[in-house]
Assembly symmetry: C2
Homo-oligomer: 338 residues x 2
C-alpha cells in the first residue's frame, strides 16, 4: 500500500513537473489559452500581461510568490447578485422555513409582511426590518448549526429566473481567472460585504478558496461551555464588522495583513479596496465587472439598488483600471450555457 | 533564459518528487529524525504518532491536507516571555525613544515613572497605566509606520539576560515542530494574545508563518484618504479584539474558519483554545509547554504573573494532553546554545 502510494506520488509529481514546464511562458511547449471564456481584447490582455510581468523572474515588475495576493469581491463579481443578494434570499427562505416555530411572527413586522408576501410593507420596513430578519436567521445558534443550515439551503434553493441552484450562478470567466492566478502562484482571497459565516461553508468547493481566505462581514461570536462540557461558539445579534466600502481595506489589513497586488470588484462598495490596492506602488491590477448583459445575465450600474456602480466606474475610467464589459468580454457567463 | 528556467523547474519538481517519495512513511527510504532537538520519550512520541496517524492514507484517523490546521500560541510557546512580554518591552522602549517629542510625559503618569525608572510607581498604575503606554506607542500612526517601528526595534533591542536580539529567543524545538508539521501538509497558524500588528512584520522570516496566518489582539483601524490622494490605515486608540482565553476560539473561528486538529499553548490563556480543539471529535493533539528549566530558560507556572499555568495544567493532566517538560524533553532550548 505504501509503495503503491509512493509510486503514485512520483507519478503525480512528474505530471506536476510537466505542467510546470508547460507554463514557462510557452517557450518549451505550445501553450493553451488560460482564459478561454474571455474574448480577446484589451481587457483579457490587461490580465495576462499583468500576470506575465509579475511572475517572470528577472523582470523589473517581478513579485515573489508569497506577495502575490489577489482579492475578489463576491456578490456581482464572482457570482450573480440579482434580483437581490443571495444571502437576503437565504434569510427570507429561513423565515418561511422556521415560521411554524415562531407563531409570534404572524403578528409582528417585518415578519408578517414577508410571510404574507406583502412586498410593499416589507420594503417600508427598510434597513431596520432587514436587520431584524438577518438577526432572526443568522444569530441565536451555534456557528456549526448555522453552517449546516447554509449548506442545506444552498444545495436545494433555486434562483427565480435561472431555475438553478445559486451555486450554479458563479461566473465561469471569473472561475477561470481564479484558477489562472493560483496556477501562477497567487493566493486568492474573497473580500466580500456578505457574511463570512454564510460564505465559508461552500467557497472551497465552489471557488477553490478555503475558509481561511474568506474575508467578510461578521457578527459577534461568544465562546460558551455547554452543559455537556463541550464548548460551542454562539452567534449573537450584534454586528461586529461591516466589510464594505472603506471597511474592505480594513478587513484586508485585519485578515490578510498584506496589501493585494490584484483586486477585482463590481460596485462602489469595492472602490476603496481598489484604491488601497493601487496605492501600494509597483505594478498593480485593479478590475471591475460591469454588468452590461441583460440577455445572458443582468444590465445595471449607476441607478441600481443592488451593486450600484457609479463613483467607482468614474474612478476606473479616470485612472485606467480594467473594466470588464460583460457582454463584450465574456464568451460565456455561466458554466451551464451552451 | 526561458528554456533555462524551464529546465530548472523540471529539476526542482524532480527533487520535490524525490522528497515526496522519502516522506512516504519511511517505507522506501531510511528516514532521519524530524525532531532532533526533542529527547526521545512519551512527549516526542505523542507528536510523531499523531502526525503519522492523521497523514497516513487509508488510516481511520487520516485527515485531508486542507483540514490539517495547527495553531500555536506565541509568547511562552514559540518564544520566551520572561521577565516580561516582549511587546511590553517594546512599548517601554518606544516611550523612551520618543520622549523628547513629548515633554508633557515628564509630568504625567505613568510616563514619568517609566522615564524615571521608578518601577514601584509604574507598577501602581496597573493595567490602566499599561493600556495608556500601549495606546501612546501603538496608535496614532499608520499601519505602515507602525510596522517599520516594530522592525527597527526587533533588529536592535536586546534581551536583558541573554544579551541577544529578541528574535533569537524562539524555541528551537518548536521551530523544528513547525517545520515538521508543514512538511506533513499542515498549515501552521499563530494564535496569540499579543498584538497582530506587532507580530506580522517578522513572523514569516522568523517562523515561516506568513502574515495571513497570524491571529492576535487588535485595535480599531480606520481607512482615511490622505491629502496627497493616497489612502492610509490609521491605528486608533480603541481595543477591537482581545485574542486571549475564550477569545482564542473566537479568533480562530473569525480568522481561520475551521477548527484546528493540533494546538499548542503554555498558559491558562490557551486553555479554551485547547478545549475548542479537543471538542472537534476524531484524533486531535493538544499540547502545553511547561517552563521547568531555570538554568537554560525560566521555571514558572501556577504563581507566575506572566504566562500563568494553573487551571490549564490541571485540565491537561486530567485529560491526558501532552505536557512538555522543557528541562526533560528539549535537548536544546535556543538555537544559539552550544
Amino acid at each position: 500500500m505504501r509503495m503503491e502510494f509512493c509510486r503514485r506520488s512520483l507519478l503525480a509529481a512528474w505530471l506536476a513537473a510537466s505542467a510546470l514546464a508547460c507554463s514557462c511562458g510557452g517557450a518549451a511547449f505550445a501553450q493553451s489559452d488560460p482564459l478561454p471564456s474571455w474574448n480577446d481584447g484589451t481587457v483579457k490582455k490587461s490580465i495576462t500581461d499583468f500576470v506575465a510581468r509579475v511572475t517572470t523572474p528577472g523582470n523589473a515588475d517581478f513579485v515573489p510568490s508569497e506577495q502575490r495576493i489577489a482579492t475578489f469581491d463576491n456578490d456581482g463579481t464572482l457570482w450573480c447578485e440579482q434580483p437581490m443578494y443571495f444571502q437576503v434570499v437565504f434569510a427570507f427562505d429561513e423565515i418561511k422555513r422556521t415560521a411554524s416555530q415562531h407563531p409570534e411572527w404572524r403578528r409582528k413586522q417585518p415578519f408578517k409582511a414577508l410571510l404574507d408576501h406583502d412586498m410593499p410593507t416589507l420594503a417600508l420596513s427598510g434597513e431596520k426590518g432587514l436587520l431584524e430578519i438577518v438577526a432572526a436567521t443568522h444569530t441565536g445558534m451555534t456557528t456549526e448549526d448555522f453552517s449546516k443550515t447554509v449548506l442545506d439551503w444552498i444545495s436545494t434553493a433555486q434562483h427565480p429566473r435561472f431555475k438553478r441552484p445559486y451555486i450554479d450562478l458563479t461566473y465561469w470567466p471569473m472561475q477561470e481567472l481564479l484558477r489562472f492566478l493560483r496556477a501562477n502562484g497567487f493566493k486568492t482571497f474573497i473580500v466580500s460585504g456578505g457574511g463570512i459565516e454564510f460564505m465559508r461553508p461552500w467557497t472551497e468547493r465552489i471557488y477553490g478558496v478555503p475558509p481561511e481566505q474568506v474575508v467578510g462581514s461578521s457578527g459577534v461570536v461568544k465562546f460558551e461551555m455547554g452543559a455537556d462540557g463541550k464548548p460551542v461558539l454562539m452567534k449573537l445579534p450584534q454586528v461586529e464588522f461591516v466589510d464594505d466600502g472603506p471597511g474592505k481595506p480594513v478587513g484586508i489589513n485585519r485578515f490578510i495583513g498584506r496589501r493585494p497586488i490584484f483586486a477585482f470588484g463590481n460596485s462602489d462598495g469595492d472602490q476603496q479596496m481598489l484604491e488601497w490596492t493601487a496605492a501600494g506602488g509597483g505594478t498593480r491590477f485593479m478590475g471591475l465587472v460591469h454588468h452590461t448583459d441583460a440577455e445572458r445575465e443582468y444590465a445595471y450600474d449607476r441607478q441600481s439598488h443592488v451593486g450600484k456602480l457609479d463613483k467607482a466606474l468614474d474612478e476606473a475610467n479616470a485612472r485606467g483600471w480594467t473594466v470588464v464589459d460583460m457582454k463584450r468580454d465574456w464568451k460565456k457567463v455561466f458554466a451551464f450555457e451552451q
